[in-house]
């Protein structure tokens, strides 16, 4: 297995507040790593450092992906609201959306924007090596959520590594190979799933998350 993303002892501070403290995380090809944690845990900062969008204060970041191979999506808010949907789809060579017409992205529903952003990032999967998604299921309807899970599974099969942060435990449990729990900028626990075990993943994840929270609170 090739390491597609390796963060070693990474720390990041905003002003006097630590967003990440001594975080070590790797993702190898064909692996989906879940990130779970309360708001403010440092998940977004971790993903943005892995995407080289912000610089770490200390530690080492090794992301051998090329620009084309690394895909990052921060959520529907990161799409430009003033751009027309049809033009955006054409730009990223996505199939036309007849329902969107001449609408601007800002006039789409939250779920439609989220889906559009995910389609943009997950387009041309053959060149992808590392996918970093921040709360990708937020706002998606059940069909779109199933589509996203299916896309991620297909990418895993193709050898793509993915790190996905989410509060949607059930969706995350259904696709990830292992899950990392974060709190107050630190990794406080993790759980690894047996590939053969498909049942009770959500329960296992929730139980491990509770254990990690309890341990972190102590």
């Amino acid at each position: 297995m090739t390491a597609r993303c390796a963060l070693v002892g990474v720390s990041k501070r905003y002003g006097s507040q630590w967003a990440l403290r001594d975080v070590t995380l790797t993702a190898t090809s064909g692996e989906i790593v879940g990130l779970v944690g309360p708001n403010g845990a440092g998940k977004t900062t971790l993903l943005r450092i892995a995407a080289r969008l912000i610089a770490e204060q200390s530690g080492a970041v090794d992301v051998p992906s090329t620009e084309d191979g690394l895909r990052y999506f921060a959520g529907e808010r990161s799409l430009p609201a003033d751009v027309r949907v049809a033009r955006w789809r054409r730009l990223w060579t996505l199939d036309p959306d007849v329902n969107a017409g001449r609408k601007r992205i800002g006039l789409l529903s939250r779920g439609q924007r989220q889906r559009l952003g995910l389609e943009t990032v997950l387009a041309h999967p053959a060149s992808a090596t590392l996918v970093l998604l921040d709360e990708p299921w937020e706002g998606l309807d059940p069909d779109a959520a199933a589509w996203l899970s299916q896309e991620l599974r297909a990418m895993r099969t193709a050898g793509v590594a993915a790190i996905v942060s989410s509060h949607r435990i059930h969706d995350l449990a259904a696709i990830c190979d292992r899950c990392v729990f974060m709190n107050l900028g630190r990794i406080v626990g993790h759980v690894e799933f047996e590939p053969a075990v498909a049942a009770n993943r959500s329960a296992i994840l929730l139980e491990a998350f509770e254990d990690a929270r309890t341990a972190g609170a102590r």
Binding site: A19, K43, T45, I54
Partner: protein, 234 residues
Amino acid sequence: MTARMDVPVLRLLLRPSPAMVFTMVALVAWAGYLTVTAPDDFRGPYIVLMLCQAFAASTGYATRARRGHFDQLLAGRRSRVRFAVTHVSLSTLIGAAAWLVVCLLDAIGAGGHWPLGLTPGALSSFVYLSLLAWAMSVPFSRYSAGVLWLIVAIALAASGRLLALRNSYALAADTWSGVWHAVGPALVFPPIVIGEPSSPTSTVIAVLLIAAAIAIAAGMAFISVYSLALEDAE
């Protein structure tokens, strides 16, 4: 995603507003009118074009970057220099294109004489203003540098200092102290260089070009070095 997408995505995100396009077209039309009616005095279109360029080139970076609009272009990059070069090129493009068209009309009107807009003084002041407007808007949002420059211009005019700057520039002697009397006004209010085309010395032109180089370097350094957190980053 890839550097190949820089131009198409930035062309979309930084595209000038319809009002700005209309203004530029109107300026070119004005220049065309002058070609027929008053080919000896093209200073008006050049000066107004500089004012418009202060807004057009002021496309902004940080506000969009904090919203994540550039994430898909910047993710995974080890260097952002190419992105920054594309950003500044596309930001200054519409004003530069209009400037060249006005120069062409000026040349036609002047019967083949070298147009005012392509004299070293005028060209250096336009380049300086364009790059300064771009660089000053990089830490902020669209039009920020244009608005700031307009406020400075109005404040100077209201306090009577604009005329003093112009006189200082026009009457500057070809001595070291005279050069400094010309450099200040040219840096604060570059259209003065167009208004008084006979005055600038090569030192003033050199200072304008050095200031332009510093401005573009500062803007590119901001894009390359600063880590901007998302507005609602956890």
